[in-house]
Symmetry: D3
């Protein structure tokens, strides 16, 4: 039995609330159960130096966690003077995941920055962030088209993510914090709307794990991401 009493293949309640920031070109407050991430998409009419003059755009992401997003207060990264390795790893993952579904030529020489700030954390913050970031990104692209700045939609497909793990010997979908802290294996899957692989990260936490276990996790992820993509379509009117 999972601590949350969910069946192994059941997601936590997921909500994708849009329009939560009055300035951002796209925004989404995503909840996976008690995990809440606020995502804003900001359009800037310039690209990083390494891309200037190439007629293409860029999409990047930053991730942060409010100090009391967690059970006990963590130190504020701005006060410490640097982002942790974990933070950098996560924001690199979010950026790569978004770029996998964007046509950079179609975007033109502009950058979309996705800021993912964790308001409350109960496991799965990076997968919630990816799922919500796509919504904010899509809304920003819609905004650019409505403003006449783009004629073609640069967003080629959806992208969403979920974690899966082996908990008490059983493969389960969408780990919460209590499960995550005790899982024997932990994995994050990022798939497109068509089901292609964008990113897989799988780690044996206390021991190695078997290929059969891995395949069970992958199946759960496919199911969960299918449901997340449906919610994304509803949120973006797609």
């Amino acid at each position: 039995m999972r601590p949350s009493e969910r069946a192994p293949d059941i997601l936590r309640p997921v909500t994708l609330e849009t329009g939560v920031n009055r300035y951002a070109e796209g925004s989404c407050l995503v909840s996976f159960g008690h995990t809440k991430v606020l995502v804003t998409a900001s359009v800037e009419e310039s690209v990083p130096p390494f891309l200037r003059g190439r007629g293409q755009g860029w999409v990047t992401a930053e991730y942060g966690m409010l100090p009391r997003a967690t059970h006990t207060r963590g130190r504020r990264e701005a006060a410490q003077g640097k982002q942790s390795g974990r933070t950098q790893e996560i924001q690199r993952l979010i950026g790569r995941s978004m770029r996998a579904v964007v046509d950079m030529k179609a975007l033109g020489e502009r950058q979309i920055s996705l800021d993912c700030d964790v308001i409350q954390a109960d496991g799965g913050t990076r997968t919630a962030a990816i799922t919500g970031a796509w919504v904010a990104l899509k809304l920003a692209a819609n905004y650019l088209r409505e403003e006449g700045l783009l004629t073609v939609d640069p967003i080629l497909d959806q992208v969403a993510a979920v974690s899966c793990g082996v908990f008490s010997g059983t493969p389960v979908l969408d780990l919460d914090y209590e499960e995550d802290s005790n899982a024997e294996a932990d994995s994050n899957f990022v798939l497109t709307g068509k089901g292609d692989i964008v990113e897989i990260q799988a780690t044996g936490e206390k021991r190695g794990f078997s290929q059969a276990e891995f395949e069970a996790l992958f199946s759960l992820a496919r199911k969960g991401i299918g449901e997340l993509c449906e919610l994304q379509r509803q949120a973006t009117g797609g």
Copy 2:
């Protein structure tokens, strides 16, 4: 006429929503119009080194702004590797303001940290943060008493804050961003529930300003802070 069409002595709509974080000992989402600040109060059972063994507590504050809290995206302080002078100035102000109404002996050897994160900014973020921080602080003190960790309330009085300024030659209460950007004088008042002065900061933005103007700002602040204190009492069941 103010851009917001408010009369000179009228606050923006203010809300103080409590219980917005499931882990923090106290929390408050404070809105002054479109300005929204999420405040959490975290109790830690230790004090900073300079106070150890003195039988007294400490209250401190940190302040941050999400990158897209503002009209155009600002740089993330954690990514830049340092907090700006403005950020440090504000968090020092919030901490001083809270400490002015806390009996540190009554609090015992523990620290309460107030994290004030601006979700959306439309002027007056520091005064909203102070007003909301007092609510979170009070709720954390209530929690300590309910848990039997404290028998006496260490919170001696309320404290709330508001900005005032001279806009188009007229003293007005509670500046929003458009007013703040164009004010001839800008001031922040922090007063206790009894009306004592905790902090006054007044600045001539484009020119010096007169003592008569200053006194008009002070009167407006007294009116506004009286109203904010009433809302604080409602929010904390006081």
Copy 3:
């Protein structure tokens, strides 16, 4: 009785020695009793990026304290790798105070940097710094006119500052360190030569304080700043 045996409305002996640096376009060693601050004004023929091409100038300030300026040695900020929040707060205040009396158009596209380094500290370093910085600034403007680089004086008025506080229940002018450490309320006033308000910062240190006390502090400040302005005129031959 004040520890210094001064009457409540009496400044410490104040000196403003000019021409103390052979390279700077303006310089002043300011003493308020045992507090000594060396100020240099450096003219640079360029402005910060945000002002380029606008046909106007800029005035900025930096503040530092030598490690043994104080009773016990403090850590060197350069060795620690960052400026404290207090340092940044003070240098921002000095810069704002100077800019309030400068006609930036008249200054032209050049910057004047005021470096305020505390050689010895006995309370009131920020107000001494402001008072001396104006002298160095004025001398640098005189230099620019003598060199024919400016035809109009960009310095519109004087600006000077003093601290006041409530010590043992009595409002007093120009706190030294011993008074400052024990004051119930502490305030800094920055006024122009004409008496307009440039900046007021007032803080209740151990308790809130009353409006009547505030007004007494303001009156003392007016008297003190009047005397400081007279000394500034003598120092600059005005």
Copy 4:
């Protein structure tokens, strides 16, 4: 045809030279073709603060690249004042991979630090580092047993790693730099000697990729890691 003219399932020539540092308790210079990583294992008789007094040990890793390890000179991280996100991601991966095969109780309250410095880079530096780090780690454990500091071997199994990718539409084993720069999908597999999964990281570089492609990569990795484990056994006399 691969640029290196290797068949799709063929590793580059791999060497594991031990005893290359006269001070370290274990050391290995690992080469995967032109990629060369120097690994040292350093035993310290203390553990990080979070583990003190728990009767268990710790294994950690750091990774660096000499500025001219690559085709064009990169900036020295020590001179830049921080490690890149990529560096931190890699050193966290190496540390996790080693810890998956160590019995921390058997190791006792001591730490083994694995320093992986890339002397020359031609793709696959992280997988070479993991493969060589296990050799250095094993030698350090042997040293502790020879010195009588340990009676039981804390190393529970081997661990090795290889990259695979889809290059010109074909799944291939052990990408060199030229292949890596042009791969459609890139993956790193870390497996134990018994074949269990320690870590999988798979990324679609320009597009998502299919489950069938992923499975082909996994098969290639199993073959390659089997060969690497045989070389590890030879290098450590196992």
Copy 5:
């Protein structure tokens, strides 16, 4: 002819003014012509961690330059967030020079920190700093003896320093900035009162230079340091 019209073996006017800081246990304002360095000696009743419990003391130094000490304003190291390589090199040299003449056992478990801040620079700041630092150090040792904290003088000998260089083909003593900028060879000598070598640093600036030139510089340094030692004795009443 030297720009300063001095003969090759003549020092600039040197003054060593003591008692210039009311808090420091020893202090000296040293001038070598227009070069002015303020040195304070601070006694702290503790030693760095690597010396704790060994019954011996430590002497260390820090060096800084005010931004407008030079012809054109330099950036403030505290604002830049780090000390330059040059600064670190100089403060390490000053510390080593002082330690060469101190009996650390006789000093007891306390540290003397020498802060050397350049008020105005016209060449030779490091040699002026060393010469003045010895005076401040000696005065601090005298203070410790007067207070009864030490019974034996821990200062074993004097130490002073001077620069020499080859300017327009001629070896000259005590380079000022104009000479230093154009010297073919530049050297700093640190000698004890007895004439022993504490440190020699000699550098060919545009070309290598000969042993004969080096010997001429060394002779000049001996003469100059003899004169500096006499001034040190006068300043410290020795």
Copy 6:
């Protein structure tokens, strides 16, 4: 008797292995006994900002030490976020030494960066680095001539370095770590192929030392550097 049983005027076995990096324009692995430094010379077709447009080149150096180059593991500078004062001092010395024998006009507007990374340290790392850096620099210059990018050799002379010290009262050549840790005086000499002085650094470690001792050290250095220059010529085919 020296710990190494060498006669006072005998170098450790020295090797200069070239072509050790497949990407660098010049490279050398230099060994002085157990001290091993890997040097690469990287040519970049641009110069630092302060030299742009002057028609001349630049040569610079960076120095680092792998964490386990030493008997006990040191902290990684990249992880600590800054280079130590010792590191900066050494890399500035290496750069100055190289620049003393390069005709910057002949080099043209390009920069050669010498990265000196200590693989294993047993005393004398900076002198080994200088000796090896010249070899890498010469090879890079040869490369530029072979590629037709230069017609004239910009390398005017050789430069090499060795340490000498007073150990147990005897002047000895080329200190190893055990000698260096116990030397009464320590010195580094950098001389050109013609025997001119590029740099001398001599330090009394526990006491001052005499001019006679200094002259003995200088004689030993001349002998040792003569032998090193012969090895450099062999390594570069000169």
